[in-house]
Amino acid sequence: MYLLEPREKPSRVMKWLSPVIALSAMLVVSSLLFLMLGLDPARALYIFFVEPLTSLYNLSELTIKASPLILIALGLAIGFRAKLFNIGAEGQLTIGAIFGGGIAILFHDHTGWWILPLMVVMGAIGGAFWGLIPAFLKTHFNAEETLTTLMMNYVALFVLLYLVNGPWRDPDGMNFPQSVMFNESATLPFVIEGTRVNASIFITFLALVIFWIFIKKSMSAYKLEVSGQAPMAAKYAGFSSKKAVWLSLGLSGFMAGIAGLCEVAGPIGQLNPNISPGYGYAAIIVAYLGRLNPIGIVLSGFLMALLYLGGEMAQMELQLSVAITGIFQGLLLFFLLASDVLIEKRYRFAKKKLKPRMSETDPTVA
């Protein structure tokens, strides 16, 4: 039943080849899926993966989607290095959007250069706050972050629903669950003529640079890495596991909150129930696919954006439900995880029966 055997040394080649393999496998399976649906796979793949790259406008749309994905993924990557499984980015971006959007709604009748920066700051605070709650639960009550962060996503959603259906509903909005449209001072300015690309890309770029320095050179990042790889060693070295939890969850909440704010202050322009097509979850895949490092995250951010955009195009031209994007995302993650294993192990061709190992454990391994 077991198909693998260990390699003598981890394969460097596979580390960068595995995302390629995963992508290829996903393409093969998706072609089969299209065939089963009675579509021409070549055409479907073209609409999905190539057409979004064919015009400048499409590329700009790609960028609008990639930017929040990259931003959130950067924050998540820090926590994943420490093996802290934060799946609460969706909720963190929602609360960030709420906090920041709330400023826009509060000062709806005002103008001024200070509104937007304040919104960004509040978005960051909101997201960080939402991430720090599970951090507190973990450090003080030992509650695993996987389930608590996930539950927070649902709570955040309901808070948003409550607000846009209730106190923050636009009185002139014909009873739709949405807030007022943000005014000009509360909206991110466009930076490229004729496109919807806005100033959030500068924020993302700045985050990228800071992240690079942090990961490569900082002692904090080293401590997180040790916590993830060998928690007993981190304890031995005196690296506070509590600090690691606060830092990872707080930082990813911070980034996700800003990303959420940028969405509502950008392409969406208001608060409504649909501020994110699952960016918080997709960003997890982006972080993994990007090998938790800056260049990889940028590339996979664009790839994931491609999946989103392709899904929208497929809906328009092939009448396919946008849910198909979710199928691809799931498949991609599966194949990525599987091909990642090939870094440390390889497929066992000779089906010799594996001997049971002695249960002897090396006393020198913790």
Binding site: Y2, F141, I327, F334, L337, D340
Partner: protein, 306 residues
Amino acid sequence: MSIEVTAILAGTIAAATPLVFAGLGELVAERTGVINLGVEGMMLVGAIAGFAFAAQYEASVASALLVGALAGMLMSLIFAFFTLSLSTNQSACGLALTIFGIGISAFIGQNYVSTALPGLQNLNIPVLSDIPLIGPILFQQNYVVYLSILAFIFVWWVLAKTHLGLLLKAVGEAPESAHAMGYNVLGIRYCAVLFGGAMAGIGGAFLSTVYTPMWIENMVAGRGWIAIALVVFAAWKPARLMLGAYLFGGVTILQFHAQTLGLSIPNELLSALPYVATIVVLVVISRDKKLLKLNFPASLGKTFTP
């Protein structure tokens, strides 16, 4: 007022049923050391599979449940293959399964959004259902609810009283030792995971063909995740799981009766109640280190290489 209480309690039992199925399934899988975070995805796939089959072939609930179970098993087979035969990280794989399950169920379900199914008649167990107060609550449920009770008894008995149950516990604690003894650890884990998938599928199919006999995208609404949390709360003991499931059933039902109970909390915030309750429950159980340490399957989540 007593009619209200009766309705709440009866509703609690029905509401708890999907959690019972999914929770028992996940409990068995986790006993052998495998954590499957894909329960939400498996339940959704079971839900749409059961629903589509019932709608397409005008089939009975029983066959819909069976189809749901098979669909859940198929999903869990994918998960088992990746995590057991290919050593991938269990948590990440489970998340992938959920994302995949949400997508595929929504995709298939788009054709069934406005379809309605007949649902299921509640049983009326003679004599017992005439008992005042508890009669209507306990003995006028639909048969799937009683099926869930049977499932509980079965799982409890196997785990506590049989050699297989001992083996499951041993594999979960120290797969290397079990392997050295000559037991097929992967085979046992495969079976446990498939059982979990089948149960999740039944839970989902129950939701879509009995509880609210219609299909809405994402209708499982996080129950899969709550089921996973319940397994932790249960400290991997079936009886405690039932307790947790019924508590949660109650919390879920509460939101529909809040107005009549005089609570003036906005609807959306009431909807958040089960999720907040889950967090509270997780916090409470995580503080009891002794209980956890004695019952926690020590190899949970760790990859085993034979």
